[in-house]
Amino acid sequence: MRRLRFITAGSVDDGKSTLIGRLLYETGAVLNDQLAALERSRIRNENGSVNLALLTDGLMDERLQGITIDIAWKYFATAARRFVIIDAPGHVQYTRNMVTGASHADLAVILIDARKGVIEQTRRHSAVAALLGIPRIVVAVNKLDLVGFDRGRFDRIAGDYLGIAEKLGLKGVHLLPVSALEGDNVVSRSTRTPWYDGPPLLELLESAPVDEGIEARPARMAVQHVIRPQAKGFHDYRAFGGQVLSGTFRKGDAVTLLPSGATTRVLSVEAAGRELAEGPAPLSVALRLAHEVDASRGDWIVASGAPPILSQDLVADLCWLDEKPLVEGARTLVRHGTAFLRASVRDLSRRWDLDSIEEKPLTNGDRRLAFNELGRVTIRLARPIPFDPYGENRLTGAMVLIDEASGRTVGAAMIRASAPPDDEPSI
């Protein structure tokens, strides 16, 4: 079974670290020497008990301040499945981390403090989940022990949340009453929520589908590396190495190389020089092609029958990840697939207000995105690229923006559509 990678999002005091700590603890992922290290630690819960939150707070600054600065990756397994927890911090200023974590996630667990209900942070986290296309959302209404496991309160919060989900177009939402501190509905079903008849969190995680139907979608591979052995017996051997991002490549398939448009067939799908029956996503393979076609790193090999969109001008949602704000017209380097190319941000027309989940049009004097802000832009590239809209394919529809001078990763873009070419001179 495929791994499930899930992100956990919540604001500072809603018990996120406690929830993760409990999942790890109850599935046996916390080993004796790690528990001993927790017991040795001077940092404790208020009542003096061992602080499970320390399992995720790894850096010295974090432990001293009792906050999480960076994403922590945690691993655990049950008999049914392996799991990856992508633990993103909850502070307002760390949208960057949540966006980063969300880009890898198959599912999001969004925590709500039952005493507070839906707050700005809930809307913000849900908006990021929607923009980043996380396929499934579990909303854990936590600290129910502090409100006497009150069904009415849970139902009100659920109603509020479903309103947000509808506005954002979120699908696959499941609402779950929990107490992370006391373990209700985390690993096993709680007797204190008889009015909830769904599965506990762990069961939801064990049964969530990953990349549903990806092997059947149009085949896509970005060429990473050309294998050309300089050895006897291999003079004519040439294979294109890359990871299958969607669909399945099979011997005999008609394929198109992009952006050149050359067409050929798949001669064989190989791994380590041995032929495979087929190459489904997400395998890393080497494709040998029937004709001598010119292709190198940065190019794409795609199913001829279902090609992606080819365009030099894109409409995208952009999250700005750098402390220096983005201004309209800025030039940048872009990574898409395995290609690095130059680009400029042409039209920065709208900003997402994550707290109200509204789009705000930007006036002429204010066409900029600050650190941790998201907006709608058009991007002009140095040459056309093949892409699928991000909503259809999260890997062929994604780009990162890089500051060429510093090398920093400054932006993350979800491509929504091609844009009409503008008439400014190309770069």
Partner: protein
């Protein structure tokens, strides 16, 4: 049917090909330990029938297990790939590194100095290592492409966000990256992969009889590099190693697991973490983080 190991393998191959695609001068850190053995196997998957686009590099403390060194040389020859060895002893002789003394003395931390000298000597842009995020708390926050400044230092606040599979390996002069293709693997995943691939491993990883001294809960292999106090009792024990590092800081565990199947089963049931047998991590609560900041792998 795709399983989690297939998925991890595909991700690691893709990361190795990114190194090949983004850099012209890189090296694979190869010690003869299980994680580096997995990386060598993954490199075959990524690049055969071609050559590896990088040499193997070992930073030899001079205190390594002879079994690991013998394995290292044989494996490099079998792969037909270039093996570079740089020695901590040479750094000490050149006055660049100062040896620790006394009980518990180790050359483990000195490896960073020799490693950085090798980076300068070969102008390496990327070093591929077998570190995993499940090993330790500071590692849990590590990037796949981890940026180091010209002094080899890791600054947790300067690391780049990594989104999707779009690794940004751009460097400025003097910088290099450490690349960790096994970031998302667990210890058990590595063992299951080695078993699936039928890879031969150093004998140290399997149960054998060995002279050890007991220090706290740890069993230390008796060797010329481990100082044994007159009062300490030397025991003959049936042990194996879960990690293979420098002899001065790698403890054995009592085990009767003599085959890969038995090792996988033992790890599945284990209630101790792998780094629990690494004394270098137990020096302080944030030992790994401090060493990483200094350029440790």
């Amino acid at each position: 049917m795709m399983d989690a190991i297939d998925e991890l393998e595909a991700e690691a191959i893709s990361i190795l090909r990114e190194v090949a695609g983004q850099y012209s001068r890189s090296a694979l850190l190869f010690s003869g330990g299980k994680d580096s053995i997995a990386l060598a196997r993954l490199s075959e998957k990524a690049f055969r029938p071609g050559r590896f686009p990088y040499p193997l590099l070992h930073i030899d403390t001079g205190h390594n297990f002879p079994e690991a060194i013998e394995y290292r040389d044989r494996m490099a020859a079998d792969l037909g790939e270039e093996l570079l060895v740089r020695r901590v002893q040479d750094s000490i002789d050149a006055g660049k590194a100062v040896e620790e003394t006394g009980k518990g003395a180790s050359r483990n931390a000195l490896q960073s100095i020799t490693l950085l000298d090798a980076v300068a000597e070969f102008r390496f842009e990327a070093l591929i290592g077998g570190a995993r995020r499940d090993e330790e708390k500071a590692r849990a926050k590590e990037r796949v492409f981890s940026l180091r400044d010209e002094f080899g230092q890791w600054d947790p606040k300067r690391q780049r966000p990594e989104l999707w599979n779009l690794y940004n390996g751009r460097l400025r002069p003097g910088e290099h990256v450490r690349v960790f293709p096994l970031s998302n693997w667990t210890e058990l995943d590595v063992w299951e992969y080695l078993r699936r691939e039928g890879v031969e491993l150093p004998s140290l990883y399997f149960s054998h009889s060995r002279k050890v001294v007991r220090r706290g809960a740890a069993l230390f292999p008796v060797s010329p590099f481990v100082h044994v106090d007159p009062g300490e009792e030397i025991l003959e024990s049936t042990v194996r190693f879960r990690t293979v590092g420098d002899m001065t800081c790698t403890a054995a565990v009592e085990s009767r697991a003599a085959t890969l199947d038995a090792v996988v089963e033992e790890i599945r049931r284990s209630r101790e973490s792998e780094r629990g047998s690494r004394l270098d991590d137990q020096r302080s609560e944030a030992a790994m983080e401090e060493r990483k900041k200094q350029g440790y792998f």
